[in-house]
Symmetry: D2
Subunit: 291 residues, 4 copies
């Protein structure tokens, strides 16, 4: 079995857990591969790891059975971007607090590896949101797990975003911006802007306006097979667009076509994981201090 490990940053004190993790993998006869950024972190913290190879090419990633994402939810978003259409199943290990995506705690690493080796897990397919424009953007990595965002730039005044769904005119949003979030992204930026939660098994996108001027404008839920199209207008000539945490600018005339990607992010789920437990925990639902 081939397992890749990826990370973009973790606290130095987490290093022993990585040493233990690799030891456990090796003991199970797993071949360990590490990404370039992760290899640099291992060097920086002088991690003591017996044997591993570095991933040198796209072709090597294709040979991985799993990829471990070590860090927080931000790292896992990066891992999704890294594997892309290869759809390598991802195991999210959190090096700090429990995440929505990085759900394996350091105390559970050994157990998780045993379950993985024994095939005692399920793989959850999470929809990705993809954007297309006439010119290439995001270096071709035009997909995100959480959300696609259109936002005014810096000092500019509000922008108008003409929005079409399956070719039909929906609305011209006027405000700071617009978020198109997946169920996975519904617990992120969209939630901060008044969007609803969406369970992972719901097949939806939500369009959530950012600080809309018209107070009647509210988040709207769509089937995730909808074809969305946006045209932005404003005093500035450039606007900001983002996929998860990656951003770039587009011009006023550009047409943005947003849809579900034709590949998914595969997240490994262990038996005791439960989305509602995570939701209650992360949102303090059982912890109402105002009472």
């Amino acid at each position: 079995m081939n397992i890749a490990i990826h990370g973009i940053g973790f606290p130095e004190e987490f290093t022993p857990h990585i040493e233990k993790l690799t030891k456990a993998l090796t003991a199970h006869g797993v071949n360990i591969f590490v990404t370039d950024t992760f290899s640099k972190l291992l060097k920086k913290y002088q991690a003591n790891i017996d044997s591993y190879s570095k991933i040198q090419s796209k072709a090597m990633i294709a040979d991985m059975d799993f990829i471990f994402s070590i860090g927080g939810d931000g790292t896992l978003l990066d891992t999704v971007c890294y594997v892309g259409k290869l759809e390598t199943p991802i195991v999210g290990i959190n090096s700090g607090r429990l995440g929505f995506l990085a759900t394996v705690a350091k105390e559970e690493i050994d157990e998780a590896i045993a379950l993985l080796i024994n095939g005692d897990y399920t793989v959850e397919n999470r929809v990705l949101v993809a954007v297309d424009t006439d010119k290439q953007v995001f270096n071709g990595l035009n997909f995100g797990l959480n959300e696609f965002t259109i936002h005014k730039r810096d000092t500019s005044s509000m922008i108008t975003i003409h929005t079409y769904i399956d070719g039909e005119y929906l609305n011209s949003y006027w405000g700071d911006g617009l978020i198109i979030a997946t169920p996975t992204g519904s617990t992120g930026y969209s939630l901060s802007c008044g969007g609803p939660l969406i369970t992972p098994d719901a097949r939806n996108f939500v369009i959530t306006p950012v600080s809309p001027h018209n107070l009647n404008v509210r988040p709207i839920i769509l089937p995730d097979d909808a074809a969305l199209c946006f045209k932005v207008e404003g005093r500035g000539e450039k606007f900001l667009v983002s996929l998860d945490s990656r951003s770039t600018t587009i011009d006023s005339g550009d047409e943005l076509r947003v849809r579900k990607a034709n590949f998914v992010a595969k997240l490994v789920k262990f038996p005791k994981y439960n989305f509602f437990d995570t939701l209650r925990h992360k949102l303090n639902w059982g912890f109402d201090m105002r009472n």
Copy 2:
């Protein structure tokens, strides 16, 4: 062709439009039937209608090809309740302002009848929400087109609603109440309580809390094939439950099982109707006076 007409109240000055409507139906060779409540309105306003029969039995409703709902959105909810599992396709004619459901204006009645006779329409299946308890409630008419609501009674303090989805514990909501809305109901009470809009083709329910004490608690979107279960707790011994505009009380111990009904409401849609147009119009999206 057999067409039933139903209504629970319309302004007297709308009577001539009904006379014209029935004349047009008769001219097209349609047999007209009226419901008991509608027949009383015709008498009250001394409507001049040549020939029609009164619906005397469930069996007669089953013979109808269509039912015209004359009034507002509230009347159409009543019409849905009236036809129930018979799934008679409903034509919503508004006797006042444009509704989300009663979409045919008085000026469009002739055109709508012509389109109906010519088969130039589609039928949109709208999901209904149904509730089951151990004892019969709502006289067996345990379904609604908009929403199912649990609410504290009168003077009582907040209630706790333990909520389970597909057997898994979701949350114990603490507040004034809880709404389970369909896409159709998403533009109603749920919207007033901070719920999102949902397009009619999305296969979802939304659970929207009413004045929740815990500020972290937000509306949550689910697939509409979820099986929901609620148990209510509070200082009072009775709680209020509603389906659309019909209400009753339940006891503290009762378990409420909520799911999609196994039949739908069939709404007749004419070619020029467009949900987004209605949405923008009803929510004043194109009319931002604050600018």
Copy 3:
């Protein structure tokens, strides 16, 4: 020094703290008086208290230097109602979790008594909201510390509340109800309905709509010397009005005149108390699990 003690319910295991509290007061030469309801609780839990008198008349309350409110924030609201225009300074001791009003924890009781005896405290004047109608309501106790609320009853449909400020027409609110909250009440029901927080030193009322149908309607902040007037209209003939946790019904024709009471609630504040600390603690501001 004369100190009254009031409570409407506390957990049995809190009894030793009350015994200790009364012992400390007696040691400081304080004469202890208890309210009728509190006296019943002492008997129920067989509290061992040396010497105290029962309050038998309004005149006796007028002789008190302070009143201790033992319980939660709900108990303190009741204490405010109990002392009314006498404006007896209130010490809020919480028998459970920290409250917004009952801010002295059981571990701090001894210290609080010492500070009180030494005069090392300030008295904070909290504005009360008062309501007048043509007939007497609320048994003449027509004031509240948190809020005045108008609400639809049970099964009835939405209500319309015509609202005037200083004789000028403000708006006709259409929805489930309306809250007029003081700064003290801004952390309560108003907050659950989307109202803002208000610092105790701000001289304001906030009018917060409950589930308003018109999405443009938002909470509005007024100077607390405004004279408000409400007229309610709806299908039902009776509506619900509340002051804090006390409720009654009014008729459709009644005019409700709401203003600042001409007396205040006096809350004893000890040096280390800080409103912002309480706010952060009660609202979990420093505890963002979603990160």
Copy 4:
């Protein structure tokens, strides 16, 4: 009487109204002065105006009895900035739709001038928000009528804003930004971000978070004599700060001290003007299409 006229842009077809306005002023014996930007607009549209002088110096502004602001609310904000501490009373004439500030419609210009000449008006003092830092910002024009805003820049991640009121720690806001709005500004950006309305006579500021990560964080109302202090922290090194529509960047270490300015904006109010009428009109309160 000396009257200045200011504007930063109006539709060409509004020119005749300006010609009429100046004619009426001249007929009343008023000396007309125009600002530099307004004078350019008059030339551009070849307005036919008999006699006026250009304002050449600060000293000349000090001699004005009134200043007419011709345009929309944005123009009036600019006029406030133009007169600054001179506190010249401002008459807001709207060249388009009714504004919250530019309340005199073109049909009402003659009447407004007559009322002004006859002294039949009141002057409303509107509080300004002012910001101080260790180095000069906003070219010394460090005040605004609507709001002071701190915002993350472009592509950067969320920022943390440590907030102190009268020297006491309030909260560390984590999100896109923070708004400190005056009552005048409460109908603007703060409202789009969930802030409450505030009547012009209320003596308050509101702190409204922009897309806060912690869902418990809500707008908070303060007395307007509070001294606020902010320190910003984030991954970026620069942050965006704005006063009304003017923006600049500040560094991570800078301390921002925000308070009420020691001068006000004086707005001329004519007898028939009513804030609540404007509010209802601008927010469509009487126009609930969803019904």
